[in-house]
Amino acid sequence: MRKTVLLMCLLVGTLTSMAQKSESAKFMFLVHSGKNQMTEMSAQHQKEHIQKVGAYIGGLAKLGKLIDAQPLAMEGELISAKDGQVSQKKLTIANQTIAGYYVVKAKDLEEAIAIAKADPRFEENGWQLEVRPIKQVSGIN
């Protein structure tokens, strides 16, 4: 009797954690570039880069893995609060590095990282992809 109860516990526990995993999670990839990489490339290089990344994104979309992918305008503003005082300043290359973002569906962080690693922009130096799970609560919403 006790054994059955125990087995049930473990089973339910495992099922719960499995349920959380198989429910495909959403991830945001923040594309970081130290400086504006694109402007330093030659026109030919730029074109190739766009084509490669485009193919990669298109592939993800076909697999149903891609929810959104957008580049961000390099100019922007940073609004900050310090002890209730709100101030605003222009973003510069020095304090911002996010060149764009993807929102991707994956089974878990591992798969998300694998997807990130397949990004052909890694053929160039200087890029970083920050892979962040979008918070989700299983069984709610």
Partner: protein, 119 residues
């Protein structure tokens, strides 16, 4: 209408972690009302929190590595995907976020350069 990405940044995971439950609740109510107002007016396409854990993929000495996502530095705890007429309006909306009343938050306002053909 243009689209904007607003990254919610802070030095710690959540500047309100050490607030009392009463203060946290007040904060939640204020910010939630602000967001729901924006959703209702159609300005907010989505607002999502990000898990504090994650990973950074980068190229090191010619090979791809995934390291732990750096938590000691500033973190992005979530984002707003906004619709606004121009950058000025997006900034105005960002400045109205009541989270600025509690804790030292930063919001980075960036315009999305729409790429056609995706989605």
């Amino acid at each position: 209408m243009k689209e904007f990405m607003l990254f919610i940044r802070s030095d710690e995971d959540n500047p309100l972690a050490n607030f009392s439950l009463k203060e946290q609740q007040k904060h939640v109510e204020k910010v939630s009302a602000y967001i729901q107002e924006l959703v209702k007016s159609g300005k907010m396409k989505s607002a999502q929190p990000l898990e504090s854990e994650g990973s950074v993929v980068s190229l090191k000495n010619g090979s791809l590595v995934d390291g732990p996502y750096n938590e000691t530095k500033e973190v992005i705890s979530g984002y707003y995907h906004l619709m606004a007429d121009d950058l000025q309006e997006a900034i105005r909306i960002a400045k109205a976020d009541p989270r600025f009343e509690d804790g030292n938050w930063k919001i980075e306002v960036r315009q999305i350069m729409k790429v056609e053909g995706i989605n």
